[in-house]
């Protein structure tokens, strides 16, 4: 090929898309109240990339380590052991039946929640190289964090089931299949809220790097206001009534109750079990959670236009 012949001039090449395809405005401002459907459609188109990003997160996390995924199980298992021994035995919370299973219901869900929040918060900043160089919906970064945390959660669920089998064999009380929809709904509520908060924080962290430090503190506090290692009955008798209602508004509380209801049959009928209407709470939380997630996405969409220049 000679140099001169490489000038394309005005000769039109093969048409790739129809020549009368209308021009599409890119990054068109869609207003605050509309545009979610467009984003959803776009995320759907990039679903394969989302899968790849999740895979990348998981692969990178334990690359070159001998134990690999075992590490993501070890942390909650050690936590479980410590809480069981220190709080269950030394501090005498042992009155709660099969205390180990009780804690793990909370710990497994909590680990999922905190992992989503902490990895989603830094997701956009850590991927600055991509944000600045390639276009695809930025929502994929926090969503990939959700996906990766969900995979880890599956492994914990296996442990929880094994624990249930052991506890069931020794106590003769098996999970009631009737309650199975409860933790499933609980998991959905958890993911919706975690994705919403994660999305907000990932956008905020681009402008204010303090967020990634702040989230550690907030998660620690949040852990202790969620009935994971202590039982909620104690809270209801200690706190004034109004404050107790505020305490119960914590989405994670309802999620933990839903898991305990199914995976901790040993507690049913005991005073340690949450006696309120779990389905009602979950349903309400889901509605609010979806509204919140939608609002979070709108804020994210507003903020993302400036990501590339702020990073």
């Amino acid at each position: 090929m000679t140099v001169a012949s490489t000038r394309p001039g005005t000769t039109a090449g093969p048409a790739f898309s129809e020549p009368d395809t209308p021009l599409q405005r890119i990054n068109a401002p869609r207003g605050f109240w509309r545009g979610s459907t467009d984003t959803l459609a776009e995320i759907w188109r990039y679903r394969e990339l989302l899968g790849n990003l999740v895979r990348k997160e998981l692969k990178v996390k334990y690359k070159d380590s001998v134990l690999g995924f075992v590490w993501s199980l070890l942390m909650p298992l050690v936590q479980l052991g410590v809480y069981w021994l220190v709080i269950g035995k030394f501090l005498g919370a042992g009155a709660i039946p099969t205390y180990g299973v009780y804690i793990f219901c909370g710990l497994a869900t909590w680990t999922l929640f905190s992992e989503v929040l902490s990895t989603a918060t830094t997701s956009v900043v850590f991927n600055a190289g991509l944000v600045k160089k390639v276009y695809f919906p930025r929502e994929l970064f926090p969503l990939a964090a959700v996906g990766a945390a969900l995979v880890n959660f599956c492994f914990q669920l296996v442990i929880l089931l094994v624990a249930d089998v052991i506890a069931g064999a020794s106590s003769g009380k098996w999970p009631n299949i009737e309650y199975l929809p409860m933790p499933i709904l609980g998991l959905i509520v958890l993911v919706v809220w975690a994705a919403g908060i994660g999305m907000l924080l990932s956008a905020a962290n681009v402008y204010l790097r303090d967020i990634e430090h702040l989230i550690g503190v907030v998660l620690m506090l949040w852990f202790w206001v969620t009935p994971i290692i202590y039982n909620v009955t104690r809270v209801s008798t200690t706190l004034p009534r109004a404050l107790y209602q505020v305490y119960l508004m914590n989405p994670m509380a309802a999620v933990v109750f839903s898991f305990q209801k199914f995976f901790w049959p040993q507690g049913s009928g005991t005073p340690y079990e949450f006696s309120g209407d779990i389905y009602g709470r979950l349903g309400l939380l889901l509605v609010f959670g979806l509204v919140f997630l939608w609002l979070a996405q709108r804020v994210f969409a507003r903020a993302q236009g400036n990501f590339a220049q702020e990073l």
Binding site: P8, T11, Q24, G305
Partner: protein, 389 residues
């Protein structure tokens, strides 16, 4: 009727330069920092329409807004005002291997990078062998990328990028990396893209590349479109602007021999900014000595805009021994014709002893342009006779 593939309407982009980032700094300086926040317009009212199958070059100095414009077209940045419309699949080669992760193997990175650039798993499977083949690093494809040499890294990244099948391709300076055979490979591939009628927007500092590859060039200066048109015209404009800047930098120090009044002249003995190709041309300058200097020689060098030495000579090489100088002398170098092609050229002038360091040297002491009606690329102006039998 051909519809444009890209239309840029009244696009402006404002950056606000702030330095504080932490919460504390923001709270402490909240009022002050807002007042001190500096505004900076990277782009101002850019309008552009690009028809399919064309190759557009964006040129301009550093910070002129080329990359910003490219990123806005690519959808990575949103403009402050105005908007961009486009149609068709777009791929942006803004940085090779932007999505590579050092801990993943070459194979894993190929799949990840391909999906970032918009290829599906099935497509990547199909292209995989060809990607690896193009990169030429089969042996290392299952090695973690962090162990790659930078060349291998770039090769693999480029191999992925060119297998994306875009209708619009945005290229930002990526052609400047890699060894020479690899660069040639990249250029060949881009030429192939051109031949297939794809639309390409190219940001580069290599004006030679622009003249070779583009059929339209936009010159940006401080975010404004200065020239939009034929490559030769835009490049000439850009070089003129640059040479004006160079002239502003002139030094004033004491020398045993001082050069002054450097000028070029044509066959009429007068200085012109532009000479037609092939005319006689001379260089003249004055040499001044306060005290007598007996050991001296004078020399000139002709360079092109990129600093490439085209020709150089001095009185020693020409076997001329000048008489000792006191006061002022005029030195003249004459060429019967200067067979260089279209472009901006510079004259460096120096006076020095036969051995030892210079008395005085002025880099780019004079500049001139050669104009040529022919559009043939290259440094020398030749007149070929083409015969086809």
């Amino acid at each position: 009727m051909n519809q444009p593939v890209i239309r840029v309407t009244d696009v402006s982009k404002k950056f606000v330069i702030r330095k504080d980032k932490s919460l504390k700094e923001r709270l402490v300086n909240s009022r002050r920092s807002r007042a001190h926040a500096e505004e900076f317009w990277a782009l101002r009212d850019v309008n552009l329409e690009l028809d399919p199958g064309h190759t557009l070059g964006l040129i301009g100095g550093n910070g002129s807004g080329k990359s910003t414009l490219l990123k806005i077209i690519g959808g990575i940045l949103t403009p402050t005002t105005g908007y961009v419309e486009r149609r068709g699949r777009l791929a942006a080669l803004l940085e090779l291997g932007a999505g590579f992760h050092g801990d993943l193997t070459g194979r894993e990175n190929v799949y990840l990078n391909a999906s970032i650039l918009g290829l599906s798993k099935a497509q990547t499977d199909r292209y995989f062998d060809s990607i690896v083949d193009f990169s030429g690093i089969e042996q290392f494809i299952d090695t973690q990328v962090k162990f790659y040499s930078s060349g291998m890294y770039v090769r693999l990244a480029f191999a992925v990028a060119i297998h994306v099948d875009p209708e619009i391709l945005l290229v930002d300076e990526v052609l400047a990396v890699g060894d020479e055979p690899f660069q040639r490979k990249c250029l060949d591939r881009i030429k192939q893209f051109q031949g297939e009628g794809r639309t390409i927007i190219l940001v580069t500092h290599s004006l030679e590349q622009v003249r070779q590859m583009c059929d339209r060039v936009v010159l940006l200066n401080s975010g404004q479109m200065v020239v939009d048109g034929d490559p030769g015209e835009a490049v000439r404009h850009f070089r003129e602007a640059n040479s004006e800047q160079d002239h502003a930098l002139q030094e004033h120090t004491e020398h045993a021999l001082t050069i002054s009044g450097v000028r070029t002249f044509g066959d009429d003995g007068k200085q012109h900014p532009i000479y037609p190709v092939g005319t006689p041309l001379g260089v003249e300058f004055q040499v001044t000595a306060e005290h007598e200097v007996s050991d001296w020689a004078a020399g000139i060098a002709l360079t092109d805009a990129s600093g490439l030495l085209i020709y150089g000579t001095n009185t020693v090489l020409q076997e001329i021994t000048p008489e000792p100088v006191t006061g002022k002398r005029t030195v003249r170098f004459r060429f019967d014709q200067l067979p260089v092609s279209d472009g901006q050229y510079f004259i460096d002038v120096a006076v020095h002893p036969k051995m030892g360091s210079d008395y005085h040297r002025i880099a780019r002491a004079a500049s001139f342009q050669i104009s040529n009606d022919a559009n043939d690329p290259g440094v020398v102006a030749l007149n070929p006779h083409v015969e086809i039998e």
